[in-house]
Assembly symmetry: C2
Homo-oligomer: 355 residues x 2
């Protein structure tokens, strides 16, 4: 830290992304990436002719990509916002729609760890709402109409999803505040709230290409909402970094929408592999949540989450462990290929056999 | 605008990027892009094997690219910060190092238009310091040690550069504040202040791949400074969007450093073309600044800047015009290829022949 840093950031604790160790080759089940590569259409679109145009700025409006997304989701392009990954959109949303005096923010105590960081960064007062004992969200806790609401659906790292009726209740009972539904994992079995954006002017749905569309490395997020909300986000984007999606990612994003069936087929394979792995883990004595995402949230009575994480890492398999007390028994395991999960299951059997 | 927007942004005026019209094919001399494509090494590096890995997150630390840049610039990788374009770095810098109470900001009245937007965005008090009548910067205006100082060197849109001794005087006379030198255009004939970062803990040099390295479309900026300043910027980045450089851009950035000679040769060609064009324009009665950048700043006594811009646009050539009164006589013309500049010169001759 330098002595020049604005004092309001002195106590800020930044987000810690999942580890990316380079000391050996791991089976990487710790950052919820897709195990499948981008579609052939994406690979073809990013050809040398496109690369040769990198000397030119990308289109800051992203109109072509917005139109592709709008068509797929049945909205207008004025309802679509694009940014450099969905973290960027969350960042802009906390900037734009939260403030201490009239719009503090509430989100579940156990959820994506970045929400708290954004609230700290912008000095927004926040409430972290406890989950029920089974990790589910009690929607009655979000009916106050007294704060911006941020809910990941499915939630992370629990994988549990709210039904669309519950989401609608939250949205319709918070009309004076934005309700942000973070749908990073929605394509793995939950219901999207996109259709509700046509009915509610306070609903902001945030989506990403990082999970179901195999493009975590490309950095592409989008949001769908009423056009006035989109305008607000555009104002923040054009006041920070207007060209924030690069040319190749924009091109890949358009190509991926054309290949939507490939990605939705992959989601079905991941769901199958998830259910297969969950059943095997339950047979091995694990307790799991009913995940509707591309990860499992699991604990064994035989050892702590930290211990299981550490032994798996020694054996070349990376999963994610969170030290916060209420979930420290658990590990979060990204659903990879069937082969990767069989390797995981064999390794876990081996680890636990003498316990 | 929605009724949910934080009221502190109500009067914010976002930055306006150079136009990117799609109604016809223009000779595009309005956004200071390089007319040359990326190097062969970049094109080879972005092969289908790399594209197939887009399902995986990029390395958020960017260590390999940092090492490449550090080696080229003769610093350590702890002195290098990476982000999604240099606008992103400017944004983080205004967040991190300015605040109204102890560190307001000053910058030249005529300079990159985004500085004012960042100051407005973060509600930082700012002073826009007048230039001399010849558009040069009077360094005595920056000796107060009372504010963060932001100077583009060469300045935009004037193209004029300060010598390294003048930069050092400003840095050494502002030790209680960050001096940010924006070197977006430095490779076209000005002196870089990077070496001074080893001597001064308050100097932050911001650089980009967008101009001299033909990668405006890839979005890659970097900054060089004392490691404590870099840590501050990392803290902000990890609190907003840790994975903010995508995989392909990271790969391209490393490959471009290996091909540095190609890019520096291109800079020499652009400088030659700039001087050739400037001489021709002077012969045609234009008045020009002594630009050390990849653009010319020129006016003719025969018509206003707005008129020249408009007629050139009708004839298929895009240049940039700024309406602010002190520079509204001028147009800013990006230096393209020799062929593009000959076309520009012929068109201007044609426009002015009856005036």
């Amino acid at each position: 830290m330098s002595r020049f840093l604005n004092e309001k950031y002195l106590s800020l604790e930044a987000y810690t992304p999942g580890e990316q160790p380079t000391d050996m080759k791991y089976i990487k089940l710790n950052t919820n990436e897709s195990p499948y590569p981008p579609s052939e259409g994406v690979i073809e679109a990013l050809n040398s002719e496109e690369i040769k145009k990198l000397n030119l700025y990308p289109d800051p409006t992203g109109n072509q990509l917005k139109s592709s997304i709008a068509e797929l989701y049945g909205v207008n392009k004025e309802n679509v916002f694009l940014s450099n990954g969905s973290d960027d959109i969350l960042n802009f949303s906390f900037m734009a729609f939260c403030n201490d005096s009239t719009s503090p923010v509430k989100f579940p105590e156990i959820s994506y760890g970045f929400y708290k960081v954004y609230a700290d960064l912008y000095k927004v007062k926040y409430s972290q709402i406890s989950l029920k004992d089974d990790f589910s969200i009690n929607i009655d806790d979000y009916m106050g109409n007294d704060a911006t609401v941020v809910i990941a659906n499915p939630n992370a790292p629990t994988g549990l999803a709210l039904g669309i009726e519950d989401i609608e209740k939250i949205v319709s009972n918070n009309k004076d505040h934005i309700v942000l539904i973070d749908e990073a994992y929605v394509d793995f079995g939950a219901e999207s709230a996109v259709e509700l954006t046509k009915k509610y002017k306070n609903l902001l749905v945030v989506c990403t290409y990082s999970k179901s569309r195999s493009m975590a490395g490309a950095r592409l997020g989008f949001a769908i909402a009423d056009s006035e909300i989109i305008s607000d986000l555009e104002k923040i984007k054009y006041s920070t970094n207007p060209y924030n999606i690069n040319r190749l990612t924009m091109t890949a994003g358009i190509a991926a929408i054309k290949d939507n069936n490939y990605y939705m087929d992959n989601c079905r394979r991941i769901i199958e592999t998830r259910e297969y792995t969950a059943a095997k883990l339950r047979m091995a004595g694990f307790e799991l949540t009913d995940s509707k995402s591309n990860f499992l949230f699991a604990r064994t009575p035989k050892m702590s989450g930290q211990e299981l994480y550490s032994i798996l890492k020694q054996k070349g398999i990376l999963v994610r462990h969170f030290s916060s007390p209420k979930i420290s028994d658990y590990v979060r395991i990204t659903v990879g290929t069937r082969e990767q999960m069989d390797k995981l299951l064999d390794t876990i059997e081996d680890i636990l056999k003498d316990k």
